[in-house]
């Protein structure tokens, strides 16, 4: 048998790759690629609309002024931006200790079954329809305790939505802290709580901060629960016990209105919301990535 110079490629027929198999591979490759292209382009289209229609609406008054009465052009959505920030901040005050506690519990005290149960419950809360959370907070606070729609009720609804996000994201961040650091601390004779507070949390600080801010941003995009709790407001209001405006509510109210100027402001508000979330998501990724390397 000669080997030298053999450039033909001959394989016994039983082991050749049939044309049908080749065609199937090609067709499926193309189909899978097309699915990716479809997914990516759909999402590009949506972002594109938000940017193109939202940008023209942005000006100084958009960020500083309050909404005008029906049919009057101009004005801005400042109360909604401030309301979203204030409710986000109050929600963070409620959700961060709980979420952080759950994360430390799950990551540092891997107490087996209990840690798993807490994590599972967090996932279930994350999966709740946000409108059901709104109904709960309405029944819990708005109906009797406060007696009216209020910013703090909106904040509580957002807090319920934030808790699982903080808990799970921070847990991921804490897991990126090398266990060698913990062991080094324990080996120095430091008690466990000091190791967690002085070594683990500071090491993961940047990640924790970004996770919290991202959770605020994610919750700040919620609309349905706020409709049932904060209600909305066209005036500046910083009193958490009274109805409060929020960006998503403003988007909804403007979108279903009959005025072009308000439609433009709805797109503008969407752009602000999406941009904030995108920036925070990117920074969270940069933080977790640099840590994991």
């Amino acid at each position: 048998m000669t080997v030298a110079g053999a450039t033909r490629f001959v394989v016994p027929e039983s082991h050749r790759v049939t044309a049908r198999r080749r065609l199937a591979a090609l067709v499926m490759g193309v189909l899978l690629g097309a699915a990716t292209l479809l997914a990516a382009s759909l999402l590009v289209v949506i972002i594109g609309y938000v940017v193109v229609r939202g940008l023209p609406a942005l000006n100084l008054a958009f960020f500083t002024d309050r909404p005008r009465p029906f049919g009057v052009e101009g004005g801005g959505v400042a109360p909604a931006i401030l309301g979203s920030l204030e409710m986000g901040a109050i929600a963070a005050l409620i959700a961060v200790p709980i979420g952080l506690g759950a994360a430390i519990f799950a990551s540092e005290y891997r107490a087996g079954r209990w840690a798993g149960a807490v994590r599972f419950c967090a996932e279930l809360i994350a999966g709740l329809p946000s409108v059901a959370v709104g109904v709960f907070v309405w029944a819990f606070l708005v109906r009797s305790v406060i007696g009216s729609y209020a910013g703090v009720a909106g904040a509580l609804a957002l807090a319920v939505i934030m808790i699982p996000i903080v808990a799970r994201t921070v847990e991921e961040v804490l897991r990126l802290v090398p266990s060698g650091l913990r062991e080094a601390g324990l080996a120095l004779g430091a008690p466990r709580w000091r190791v967690i507070l002085m070594i683990v949390l500071p090491t993961a600080r940047a990640g924790i901060v970004t996770a919290v801010v991202l959770a605020v941003a994610r919750a700040a995009g919620e609309t349905a629960p706020l409709m049932l709790t904060a209600l909305g407001n066209v005036f500046f209001n910083f009193d958490p016990l009274r109805p409060m405006a929020a960006l998503p509510l403003q988007i909804y109210q403007y979108a279903v209105s009959p005025y072009d100027d308000w439609h433009a402001k709805a797109w503008g508000s969407s752009l602000v919301l999406v941009a904030a979330i995108a920036v925070l998501a990117v920074s969270l990724r940069l933080v977790t990535r640099s840590r994991s390397r």
């Binding site: 048998m1 080997v3 033909r8 490629f9 394989v11 027929e13 039983s14 082991h15 790759v17 049939t18």
Partner: protein, 280 residues
């Protein structure tokens, strides 16, 4: 000439052993270079593997011995960024011919990996039948049953699994899983079986059974085994290739010869240093 019977011809015996002339080359590797991106993992490797023998590839970690066997059936290039230069012939099939189809190359060469990797969603039976089914061989139920049984017998696994053919392949012990992978690789009747440290994840008893199996199988298929275990190489192989990475990180073939010679009277002092345990 590698002989692979078509299942349509006569009784469906695609895996029937083929007598090889002892002197014929089953594999020829010529000036083979393999790269991962810009890093050259092996360089200028040339050797022949005689048909119907067991050839061991030994060398310290990182010398490129796994890369070398993966080049023989073009599995090397599956790693993103990896490619190879040079030529390899399996029988008279030019593996790196510009016309070559890597998928077809892999279907005439069997391979067994470091960790047993039976398909867990397939039964023992389906694992063995996977290769023939991929190729679309039109076998009757009976013929397929025969083929599965015969190859499980060849892999010395039949007696242990004949009552659980339809359980998941992942339910077997580690050693059984590895023998199932051998049966799976044999089922399409390859002339060459590549084994990449097949025993490194197994206990000594399972290792012993696989070594025994290799000696039996070598009458029917040509086996190339990568091992970091020199005792294993000396126990199972007739020929041994010693690979060593130079200071540039490129693995090169230092010595190739009969296993007996290489382990008793090595020609190269680096070989001697390695087999006497002075490094690696």
């Amino acid at each position: 000439m590698i002989t692979l019977r078509r299942p349509e011809a006569g009784p469906a015996v695609p895996a029937e052993p083929t007598p090889h002339g002892r002197r014929a080359n089953a594999i020829r590797v010529e000036h083979l270079d393999a790269y991962y991106g810009t890093h050259r993992a092996i360089g200028g490797v040339t050797f022949d593997v005689a048909a119907g023998t067991v050839t061991a590839i030994i060398g310290p970690s990182g010398c490129g011995k796994s890369t070398l066997v993966r080049c023989i059936n073009r599995m090397h290039e599956v790693t993103p960024g990896a490619y190879a230069r040079g030529s390899v012939f399996v029988g008279d099939v030019d593996v790196y011919s510009p016309y070559a189809d890597p998928v077809a190359v892999r279907s005439i060469v069997g391979m067994v990996f470091q960790k047993p990797n039976p398909f867990p969603m397939m039964s023992v039976y389906e694992n063995v039948a996977a290769g023939p089914r991929l190729r679309g061989w039109r076998l009757s139920r009976r013929e397929m049953d025969d083929l599965v049984e015969r190859n499980l017998l060849r892999a010395a696994l039949w007696d242990e699994v004949k009552d659980k053919l339809h359980r998941s392949g992942a339910a077997l012990s580690g050693g059984q899983q590895q023998r199932l992978c051998i049966a799976r690789a044999l089922a399409t009747g390859p002339s060459v079986l590549l084994m990449d440290e097949p025993c490194s994840a197994l206990d000594p008893i399972a290792t012993y059974r696989i070594e025994e199996l290799m000696r039996e199988l070598s009458r029917e298929v040509t086996i190339v085994i990568v091992t970091h275990n020199m005792q294993q190489a000396s126990r199972v192989s007739e020929f041994t290739a010693f690979l060593l990475a130079g200071e540039d990180g490129v693995g090169r073939l230092v010595e190739f010869g009969t296993t007996e010679e290489l382990f008793t009277t090595p020609k190269d002092e680096r070989t001697e240093a390695y087999i006497t345990g002075r490094f690696g």
